[in-house]
Symmetry: C2
Subunit: 396 residues, 2 copies
């Protein structure tokens, strides 16, 4: 499922290839986030134009609305959202932690009130896996408990061992039941033309399952979590409980405390990260996969990534600036000046949000392509330092 | 500038071709509205995919923000918004009437407070033409006074003759000055790559100028307005003061009272219209051009046009409907089920607004293509009645 194609000479950076039911993914890879079955503001044609290889869907959101049974009946999340390439779903654990109200954690799972209408609900390891199977994602994540930062030693110990027990239950459910819950083809409405099958729907489907290392800021807990999960032989391993408000150095330490105990022949995924320099640093520490709402969310606030650091397109200095966002802008945006983009933002035009979302994802995906080439060439260290030097010394 | 290619045998419907500096426009034509330099939610590539031949820009909005001098310095509205096909600008008269506060009309022009920050401003016939020249549109509209409905005879008389005097001032300014205000090519920012010139920017530029017939609901005022404007020999003629809250029959009467006195060899444009059946009825009464925010605005509220009448995509009946919006959906939308579109709307995803805006414009533009073919075939009457019969008897 995962081939390790090359390792960098001077860092722990790796070049790999992950094979899924809907195609292969070249790593290191950034996964745009399609929270509710749509990468915000973008059409799937644009994601293909960006050459996005894999996107992420949020189990918690899609479970609450429109419901996994609706999506399953309509042929699964690929067909539902017209996305024919690989798709990863998270477990809902992070959203239950960050969005839901009156959360109560027990051995069984998490009781909470959902953020849409306050209805009470219970998410368990088995239910999370069932939802992800019904969505038909290529990669399912185990249901974990995400502790806050900072976290007392006592709580972190209990939480980490709970996450490990949940991981066992997830894997058991996945091995015994996932195949029976995979999506079916949609019914044909009388007199209506059904959607055409996607090419990839002919391919055989087998959902991969990734474990998630927890352990908060405690090196020994990270190590034991990684060792316990490794023993369960998952298809890949995420490092969770990062990007939850901790200092950047803590985030890197969480990786350093987990990565040495993970198998080198399986992909490693740092969840919910990050800024461009953070991702490069994570790659240098042996991470292969990333997802983050940062490029699309900050785009909707008018922030555009450039090789010279981010710029705020609403700034007055761009009022009559005839240049495109960057010197080597994607052709999709190359005809638009900064002045025009600024105008669209000031005028509240949705096209602005689309164009900046597209641009920022292009920036992230190009950065990953650059990283892959550098690892192959054995020059990742130079790539990282030259990128960061320019990026961190803004000319604007 | 305008060729009359065919006239229908049994109705007053006309098939024509309007030539502008940025290309030809086949009539009858529907012009998508790009209020603030963007057809809401859509990229110009999508307008080309829809085969939109001409779009509209709003002088009032672009004057206030970002300002016509900014757009002129950046190469004009075509370059600014990356639109290389014909472009019509309205005069601002309608927006001053519908949006501005504390409006005071004098012989000179209209004093008002703008709707953005309440600043006092004065829009005159000359200023409106100067803004439109600075924007570099292919067709400029004269500055008119748009009376309300209903309107006292006394007021309508004064207003109509004021509109005629303003039309004379507009034409005089246009003939003497427009050429000197046309946009210049944008400057090149040091060290930045300038945008590439559009093909059409090499073409010679001459802005057309259309008059606007007023006269409220009074047949003799409509006639005298049309005759007076005809004597000024404009490049085309709009019928204004329609779609201002009057009953549909009044709208058709306004056309009937104006159209016979307009030259047959010039295009006729009914401003701000309408529903699909209204446009067909207007075509049957000799109108060639339309613009309306209806398809894009109603899309943003979840209304989708179909041959069986409009549907509300948020309705519960579409919750698990696997069919695309219509049986012969544009390929841009054909992979999306009604269930998915409904989900995107319920979830507040911007992609929903994009997809329905695209679909509704496709519906309007296809209707116009159908009308053109029917006029050419001499079967417009049948086309209109068969469309309306199906459209008005909804199966949903």
């Amino acid at each position: 499922m995962f081939e390790l194609l090359a390792t960098d000479a001077t860092t722990r950076a790796r070049r790999g290839r992950l094979t899924t039911a809907h195609g292969t993914v070249e790593t290191p890879v950034f996964m745009p986030v399609g929270t509710q079955g749509s990468v915000k503001t973008l059409h799937p044609d644009e994601l293909r134009l960006l050459d996005a290889e894999i996107i992420l869907g949020n189990t918690y959101h899609l479970w609450l609305r429109p419901g996994e049974e609706t999506i399953r009946e309509l042929g699964g999340l690929h067909r539902f959202s017209a996305w024919d390439r690989p798709l990863l779903t998270d477990s809902g654990g992070f959203q239950v932690w960050s969005l839901a109200k009156t959360r109560r954690i027990s051995e069984e799972g998490v009781h909470f009130q959902n953020h849409l209408d306050g209805s009470p609900a219970l998410l368990t390891p088995e239910k999370s896996m069932e939802i992800q199977a019904s969505l038909g994602s290529d990669i399912a994540m185990v249901f974990d408990e995400c502790p806050p930062f900072p976290c007392e030693r006592n709580y972190a110990e209990k939480s980490t061992s709970l996450t490990t027990r949940w991981a066992e239950r997830c894997l058991k459910w996945h091995q015994e039941n996932a195949i029976h819950h995979l999506p079916v083809l949609p019914p044909t409405a009388q007199g209506d033309r059904p959607p055409q099958p996607l090419d990839s729907e002919i391919a055989p489907t087998r959902q991969l399952c990734f474990g998630i290392v927890q352990g908060s800021a405690y090196a020994d807990l990270r190590e034991s979590s990684a060792r316990d999960l490794r023993a369960l032989d998952f298809d890949g391993y995420a490092i969770g409980g990062v990007s939850v408000g901790e200092p950047e150095e803590e985030m890197f330490r969480a990786v350093d405390h987990s990565e040495p105990f993970l198998p080198s022949r399986k992909p490693r995924y740092a969840m919910g990260l990050g800024t461009p320099p953070q991702m490069l640093e994570m790659i240098a520490r042996g991470v292969d996969m990333f997802d983050c709402v940062h490029p699309t969310r900050s785009a909707r606030h008018g922030l555009a990534f450039t090789p010279d650091g981010p710029i705020h397109i609403k700034n007055a200095c761009f009022e009559r600036d005839p240049a495109p966002l960057t010197g080597d802008c994607h052709p999709h945006l190359a005809d638009f000046s900064r002045a025009y983009l600024r105008h669209l933002f000031k005028a509240g035009e949705m096209l602005a949000l689309r164009l900046l979302s597209f641009h920022n994802l292009d920036f992230y995906l190009r950065l990953m392509r650059g990283a892959r080439e550098a690892i192959k060439a054995g020059t990742f260290g130079e790539f990282q330092s030259s990128f960061c030097e320019r990026y961190n010394h803004q000319t604007k």
